[in-house]
Symmetry: C2
């Protein structure tokens, strides 16, 4: 059998499983999640042993330490996987919620009810814990899932798949609801992306290269998250101490993630009182500042930002700084360079806060808070599967609800159309 035939067979199995899964009870899904947690715990040594195989091979291939780190399953990552499963089990079941119901003049009772999407294709990179996290969210939301992780994690992913399947079986749910695609060939991704007859949606999670490849090659709709070029605008009416804490947190608390600040925009009227201390905080924390000419006039010895800096997502301790004439210039800058991810304003002015919130086009817009709050848990949605920066289907962090849709239900008593 060729790769195409084998992946097609898996996709068919997924679709059949999805039909059963969409009517599965919450108790069954939560039981499966609990069994998964139990089995991961009791097979911890085995998982770590097999993961070591992946790590050894990765070292031989010369993967860098950051990638090895992401690949590694140890006591800590395993207990966080288990904790994640328990958390998802504790979340309410989104399926079956009636989001609205009304009566028509002819007596028809019309409603909308939440249902699963069907089959999700999840494409990710080397973290094997994502296999379990994604499987849990898909299962809880009643979706079957085909998981295609990075080839360097293949052995870890397969042992996790085995454990997960046993748990599904024990909970009387279809074993093929969750399937790791067991092929290392890169071709497998392209084949998965062509299975539009069986797969309803593709969610890629990883670097820009992976996401662009998926978006360009998929015959199936893709929920994508390109990049996070997030700004904080410090208004002339900001509490400057608050602004200093928010900006520092947005840049420094975890610079390698998509909701970290990449550019700080400062109103010209507070530039001289705000910037010197703020930039001292940043440089003390090892942040490299790339600034506009006006900032350089105020604080020499900084690097002059190039045109290519403004749209850049550094994911690192690098920050661009720009002094703006007014809030309009700040919003123009965000409109031009922002990535529809996370934008924040610091101000005590009522009108400015209202205007910024209304006009800025991003999945999360904040007043007087750090950009780092764009996260499923932090916003109170529970575990998330990624952040969608395209406006289709869901905008922002995607949690259980975003893995569903609604269908119309109509209760009649013999109505016909005239």
């Amino acid at each position: 059998m060729d790769l195409n035939t084998m992946i097609q067979a898996m996709a068919k199995d997924a679709k059949q499983s999805a039909r059963l899964l969409r009517v599965a009870k919450r108790a069954e899904k939560d039981a499966a999640l609990a069994f998964m947690a139990e089995r991961i715990l009791s097979n911890k040594e085995e998982i770590i042993r097999i993961n070591t195989k992946d790590i050894t091979l990765a070292r031989e291939k010369g993967l860098n330490p950051a990638m090895i780190d992401r690949l590694t399953l140890d006591e800590k990552t395993i207990s966080s996987m288990i904790h994640g499963l328990q958390e998802v089990a504790a979340l309410p079941d989104p399926i079956g919620e009636v989001t609205g119901m009304w009566k028509r003049p002819n007596g028809l009772q019309v409603g909308q009810i939440r249902i699963p999407l069907g089959v999700i294709g999840f494409i990710y990179e080397s973290r094997p814990n994502v296999t379990v996290d994604a499987a849990a969210l898909c299962l809880k939301s009643g979706n079957a899932v085909l998981l295609k992780g990075g080839s360097e994690a293949i052995h870890s992913n397969l042992i996790l798949n085995e454990i997960v399947s046993e748990a599904l079986k024990k909970a009387n749910l279809p074993e093929k609801s969750i399937q790791v695609i067991p092929f290392k060939e890169h071709e497998a991704v392209g084949i998965l992306l062509s299975m539009d007859e069986y797969v309803d949606i593709i969610i890629p999670r990883g670097g820009e290269g992976l996401i662009s490849f998926v978006a360009e090659n998929s015959k199936i709709p893709v929920l994508k998250h390109f990049k996070g070029v997030c700004h904080v605008y410090v208004d002339e009416f900001a509490d400057l101490q608050m602004a200093r804490e928010i900006c520092f947190n947005a840049k420094v608390q975890r610079p390698g993630v998509c909701n970290a600040m990449e550019t700080m925009l400062v109103h010209k009227n507070v530039a001289s009182s705000f910037l010197p201390g703020m930039i001292e905080d940043f440089t003390s924390a090892g942040v490299e500042i790339r600034a506009c000419e006006n900032t350089l006039r105020l604080i020499p010895n900084l690097i002059l930002a190039k045109d290519s800096d403004w749209p850049a997502e550094y994911l690192d301790l690098i920050l661009t700084v720009k002094i703006v004439e007014d809030m309009d210039e700040a919003m123009d800058h965000i409109e031009r360079y922002g990535s529809h991810h996370t934008e924040s304003i610091v101000t005590n002015d009522y009108g400015r806060s209202k205007e910024f919130l209304e006009k800025v086009d991003a999945s999360v817009v904040l007043i007087n808070a750090s950009t780092r709050f764009n996260d499923g848990f932090e916003l109170g949605l529970g575990a998330e599967i990624g952040i969608n920066t395209s406006k289709l289907h869901a905008y922002g962090p995607m949690s259980l609800k975003e893995l569903t849709t609604t269908k119309f239900i109509v209760y009649g008593s013999g109505q016909v159309r005239t």
Copy 2:
């Protein structure tokens, strides 16, 4: 300038307009809609005169009478356009609705607010009235729109665009919010589908050929509606008189539309009491019946259905009929041949109705009502722009709300992440 450069310029203008439109007030949008209605009325003779040009050219090219009919703007279609504009103006503004708001333990107040999608690319066939209908829905939902209609309607579409632009200007809204792409070249569609930098979503409306072409060639997400292969299942516990009326209505009331019934599934226990009278009704109304072998045993002289009949969307006075062993067989048939559009059961059994409603995967599932109710107006949503049979973003009729998304808004007081 080549076609690509010209369409890109239009798309850029649309994106700029969208930025203004997303904060437009309801009063401004409704005023523009009212001005459109007024101007269409006062320019009626001119519109009809220009439309005649399109019709003459279409006749010369040998277009069939059905296409000429769709192309024609007369007193009746024009007053229905005007009525449509007034109806959309009367609908509530979806933009700005806060769909939820909650407080986090750290005091952050988190909400979701409804916003427009941005720029919509609308691709359709020869009906020029769709130009105005689509423009109205896009405007009311705060979206800019690029309209690419069939080339045979070009003169009609351009005069309507002129009227619509004047109305926008008079209402102080950006004139480029609504733009008809003025090129007859088929190439223009492909170019529009490549403008992912400016266009957020593509909505095609037309035959299967157009929709497949758009889906396969678009770099932009597409909301698609492939076809409506709709079933009515007559259960053994149906009120047979009610079933007869519902099935007749579903097939005959307007056979050329996507929510008409294509296949009638009948429980074996009521086949002999139900089918003879029902089929007499159908044949009297000129419906050609293509039936399964069991039906033929009961009523000879019908055409035997071929394998290719079950997945067919006839859009005509043709009906396939199948006797099933039980509801499971009916649901299996729907799962296999249905198009996720509209499915109906006729039954007086509580358990069967509940099970069918839950298990059947279609954008609208009805109990004891005609499939013909899958329609924005009939379901109480107001005017619709099409029916989405893929599960992404919206499932079922797409009205104003479905042309929007939500963003997260966060009211903080200095919160940082720890």
